[in-house]
Symmetry: C2
Subunit: 243 residues, 2 copies
Amino acid sequence: MKDGLDFDSHAPLYFQLMELIKARIANHAWKQDETIPSENELAATYEVSVGTVKKALSELVNEGVLYRRQGKGTFVARPDFKRSFIRFFRYGLGAGEEGLFPSSRVLSSAVTAPSRKIRDILRLGSQDRVLVIKRLRTLHDEPLMLEDLCLPEKLFRGFDQVDISRELLYPIYDAKYNTPITWADEFLEPRIADDEVASVLNIKPGEAVIFIERIAYTYGDKPVEFRASIGRGDRFRYHIEIR
Amino acid sequence: MKDGLDFDSHAPLYFQLMELIKARIANHAWKQDETIPSENELAATYEVSVGTVKKALSELVNEGVLYRRQGKGTFVARPDFKRSFIRFFRYGLGAGEEGLFPSSRVLSSAVTAPSRKIRDILRLGSQDRVLVIKRLRTLHDEPLMLEDLCLPEKLFRGFDQVDISRELLYPIYDAKYNTPITWADEFLEPRIADDEVASVLNIKPGEAVIFIERIAYTYGDKPVEFRASIGRGDRFRYHIEIR
DNA sequence: CAGTGGTCTAGACCACAAG
DNA sequence: TTGTGGTCTAGACCACTGG
């Protein structure tokens, strides 16, 4: 990777510096929660003024890529998905249980050729295969949600051996596969439980369920996970803040 | 309203300036899409450097309060809710119809004492009354969504006389009642259509519907609208981008 | 204490819009 | 041409952290 800024470019220096820093993070040259060089160091190495460095860093803070602590330094932010999980509000549960996270049980897992839809969504080549994991998420042994995961096999080799019954997936993608999830598209529809879904979720056929499709992306807006979930209507309430 | 910045305050000058500008906009002293004074003018009148003004304005652009055009000036942004409407993706319709917006028919409208729940949500006093409007939103004469609106009567006096069959509501709140909607909380649940809902929406009882509650806020995070909507499950697909 | 980021200044020069 | 915002510089001083 070539370093340095192009002073003849039409692109602003602060912007070039931002791209350079993001590339460093995507390459794992600078890791999560590690400090990056100080303003003065960056200004010296790239031969720009401290003000320009400040501008670049503050923009990256704004984008959620970095965070800064006065007196300590500038750190690489971990792309956190806390917010996305908070979107699922459980109710009919005790107040103290708000923070609980469901565990899950893997029902099946297989490597297969993807359907046309999945291949398009994950932008796979014609030879690429996907890891398909079907799991049941439960809280207090009560079924909450049936979930199908599709992952590109070449990115997540061996993932079917990982125990995901008590862990969140995105930290695993990040730690074990160098693939932090930076954002996601989510689609919701109401549906009716058919016999099969009803029996797995322990509800009656014909009851309301929420059907959620999610496409999760890593750096560079590269899609790396597709998941289709079916949740019990009486256990989920989806909350969004529109700004 | 007292003007000027407090140079002895611990609050940064750029922050004070931001608050001052936001107050001006909330007071309608500076109106939507109007230019506000230039950087140099602001710097002169508040006796701070242009750099400090730049910082304040750029933060406000970031918050979506202002927008700037090189060579033209700095403008008050209109709080636009395009995004929230885009969240409802229709499908099973022709491609050219993406941009169409449903019309609506008012089924009933009345001024009543609010329920306890509504009073809490809209933070009303014990004597305040609410305007309740029930309407059916349709596309091509096909029913899409049944909606109950609750508005504080004192803020929206005479709103029941306004023709809302072909207009969006939020532009009306803004233009006629000086109450732009700046953000909203939205809650979704899947449900089953009961006989009444089914007959209004022209579907069968037992089919899937989406139940949406929305609390919409104006400046100062003041809640000014509560709406509960029931949409046909086969006509809505809700899309969220999680960042 | 030295080093970090946070605020603020007073300029310079550029790109763009509009008359 | 004038006035606007956009970029960039080279400083100053402050508040906070940690040894």
